[in-house]
């Protein structure tokens, strides 16, 4: 299985980008969704409620796929290990 990286901050995203493999999944969560303002190249998932709550729903590029919590559960089930980046 491939890794799922849970990104809790823009700093966390910068740190993990160096060591991800191409098939890994990245999910922006909580304040991690602010990373959409910095990264328009990496393929990312983001929790929709976290984006909308912060007014970011129209500020991200096509690299970001918005998912809900059931989408997150599905991602978690498909990956191992799960790595958190605060």
């Amino acid at each position: 299985m491939t890794s799922l990286h849970l990104i809790f901050s823009a700093k966390g995203l910068r740190s993990c980008l160096g060591i991800i493999q191409p098939e890994d999944a990245l999910l922006l969560i909580e304040d991690g969704v602010y990373a959409v303002l910095e990264d328009s190249a990496t393929r990312l998932h983001a929790i929709e409620d976290d984006l909308v709550a912060r007014g970011l729903q129209n500020l991200h590029a096509d690299n970001v796929q918005r998912i809900d919590y059931s989408g997150m559960v599905e991602l978690v089930a498909r990956h191992q290990p799960i790595v958190s980046w605060h």
Partner: protein, 117 residues
């Protein structure tokens, strides 16, 4: 099961680093294969000559020195994090293996569980 502890915090921002080391020692008691990767500010936990008692804390470098006593001997450090802080291995309190980015990818991909501090 393979457990990796990914430590990215500096040693004295609250007691999070010390608590993480406590939990690594617990994992060591349960005969799991445990390794530790120090990355970002986590490499600062390894600096020699800390005096945590001045802050009312346990000295994190002394706690880390207990890892080999618990048979936790796979200790890794991120090459880039050392370079960014102009640190060399002789400034660290424990023997660690330096990993480049590919080495870290391989390490993480081999784990069942990755924990954080």
């Amino acid at each position: 099961m393979r457990f990796l502890y990914l430590l990215r915090r500096p040693p004295y921002s609250g007691s999070l680093a010390a608590e993480a080391i406590d939990s690594i020692l617990v994992a060591g008691v349960f005969d799991q294969r445990v390794s530790v990767l120090f990355k970002d500010d986590g490499v600062l936990q390894l600096l020699k000559d800390q005096q945590g008692q001045l802050l009312g804390h346990r000295s994190v470098n002394k706690m880390l020195a207990a890892l080999p006593e618990y048979e936790i001997e796979e200790l890794f450090v991120c090459a880039r994090s050392l370079a960014e802080r102009a640190l060399s291995l002789d400034q660290l309190s424990l023997p660690v293996q330096v990993l480049d980015e590919v080495g870290q990818q391989t390490l993480i991909a081999a784990q069942n569980v990755v924990m954080n501090d």
